[in-house]
């Protein structure tokens, strides 16, 4: 039985580089860093005092009363989803709500709501805890809110696979359309946990960069001087659509989501497999699912978070799975690591790289690690015709997700 093609017809994002996709992409191509010093009072006590904070605060977009009942991760998911929805031109298309699904998740969820309400509980007692607390912190909150805003009645799904969440949510969207459960899926990720507790937790794992004096240079994937990831916040959302459905309404198509590969390591709760075995299998599965030759993949938006171990494991996995020909980007060098939103934002960068025939730069790659044996567009964007590209996302828990996008 032939399965339907799935295409991308809408993009939305709010990120440390810009309040929408266009400004984010422009900043990426210009090689701008979204990382800055944390000036909040609480940051003083932390070993990590830098982060990639949103360029446009949600309060500039959504009204005050609405924001009262939204966790920040929910607010920015709504903002990104509304952009993607408008971009896809679906608002007045007469789409049957029962053919519209949502697949969207977060790595950590409503942690800042939980912590803020716990402060209220401790200081003022249980009666003062907001009645909005539970819908603000529940892990399905962002997906449910997006479904509510867009009127999605074919199911609202909440992926949670740490830093692979955004990519895995998109992979689930592909499955939903292929299996005929919806014609359109609004898919992506969101994350907003710039708060002392999550930062302290990651810092205690020694996973984060402490290059506090040079925020813009702190996220440096594959560079010898890398010392951990930089926490970012934001949301990225794509509209996935059955190709014939998009064609029938004359929709503008960015790219085709040709395949996805999902594996799990069953190795360690936080360490990636020592030989990148799960990552290799995920990439190979994605290429096979896309039914293309691995040599077609000339560009990879890598997971590359700027950690000493993970960055090099991914290089080895890519070489084994697809070879030594692709040109890589680590856009986290500019955006920081958006955790559960990373795979979604980087899918958007991958899609736009295909559309614009350009490999976005990897900044701060001043002194490449000897283990970096694949080509990278260091410092500056590079023109390249891209018939097919890969986006990788890996997460604590041993989640490996690879997505293949192709030009239409």
């Amino acid at each position: 039985m032939s399965r339907p093609d799935v295409v991308v017809t809408g993009l939305g994002a709010t990120t440390p580089l810009g309040g929408d996709v266009a400004s984010t992409w422009d900043a990426m191509l210009a090689g701008r860093s979204g990382v800055s010093a944390l000036t909040q009072e609480w940051a003083g006590q932390l070993s990590v005092r830098i982060a990639a904070q949103l360029a446009v605060d949600p309060s500039e977009v959504l009204d005050r009363v609405k924001l009262r009942r939204l966790d920040r991760s929910e607010a920015i998911a709504i903002i990104a989803a509304q952009q993607a929805w408008a971009d896809a031109g679906l608002a007045d298309s007469g789409l049957d709500p029962e053919r519209l699904a949502v697949s969207l998740g977060s790595g950590i969820g409503g942690a800042t709501t939980l912590l803020a309400q716990d402060d209220i509980l401790e200081a003022s007692g249980p009666r003062r805890v907001s009645p909005h607390t539970v819908p603000m912190l529940m892990p399905n909150g962002p997906a449910a809110w997006v479904g509510l805003e867009l009127g999605a009645k074919a199911g609202v799904h909440s992926m949670a696979s740490a830093c692979a969440t955004g990519a895995e949510a998109i992979a689930l969207g592909l499955d939903i359309i292929r299996s005929g459960r919806a014609d359109v899926v609004v898919a992506g990720g969101t994350e907003a946990v710039i708060h002392p507790l999550p930062i302290a937790g990651f810092a205690s794992m020694r996973a984060m960069s402490t290059r506090n004096d040079e925020p813009e240079k702190a996220s440096r994937p594959w560079d010898k001087g890398r010392d951990g990831f930089v926490l970012g916040e934001g949301s990225g959302v794509v509209v996935l659509e059955r190709a014939d459905h998009a064609a029938a309404r004359g929709a503008r198509v960015y790219a085709r989501l040709a395949g996805a590969g999902i594996t799990s390591d069953a190795y360690d709760i936080v360490q990636p497999h020592a030989e990148g075995e799960g990552a290799i299998r995920a990439i190979a599965k994605a290429v096979a699912d896309a039914d293309i030759a691995k040599t077609d993949i000339v560009h990879v938006n890598a997971h590359a978070t700027s950690t000493p171990v993970g960055d090099m494991l991914e290089i080895g996995a890519l070489r084994k799975a697809i070879g030594d020909h692709p040109v890589l980007s680590a856009t986290k060098s500019m955006t920081g690591h958006l955790l559960g939103a990373a795979g979604a934002l980087e899918s958007i960068a991958t899609i736009l790289a295909i559309r614009d025939s350009v490999v976005p730069p990897t900044i701060n790659l001043d002194d490449p690690d000897e283990g970096l044996t694949l080509e990278v567009a260091a410092h500056k964007a590079r023109h390249l015709e891209i018939p097919a590209a890969l986006n990788n996302a890996f997460g604590f828990g041993g989640h490996n997700v690879a997505l293949v996008f192709t030009r239409v």
Binding site: V65, S130, P131
Partner: protein, 79 residues
């Protein structure tokens, strides 16, 4: 405190919590039908009113407060 003062105090709370235009707040208005205050926001209104007017409004009393006037009367009687 006069009924008008209580009404305007409630209007401030309703604006803060639920974005209700203070000009729309009058004794005859229903919280849910006229002012679009949903059940979760009503909980916030009650807690804020307790604080503002120094009264206690038990949960089993809240269901009887259908209109702004009902709330004003209850607060007036308690304070």
């Amino acid at each position: 405190m006069t009924r008008d003062e209580i009404t305007s105090g409630l209007a401030e709370i309703l604006e803060e919590v639920a974005g209700v235009n203070p000009d729309d707040v009058a004794e005859g208005k229903s919280f849910t039908d006229d002012l679009d205050v949903d059940s979760l926001s009503m909980v916030e209104v009650v807690v804020a009113a307790e604080e503002k007017f120094g009264v206690k409004i038990p949960d089993n009393e809240v269901q009887n407060l259908k209109t702004v006037g009902d709330a004003v009367s209850y607060i007036e009687a308690q304070s």
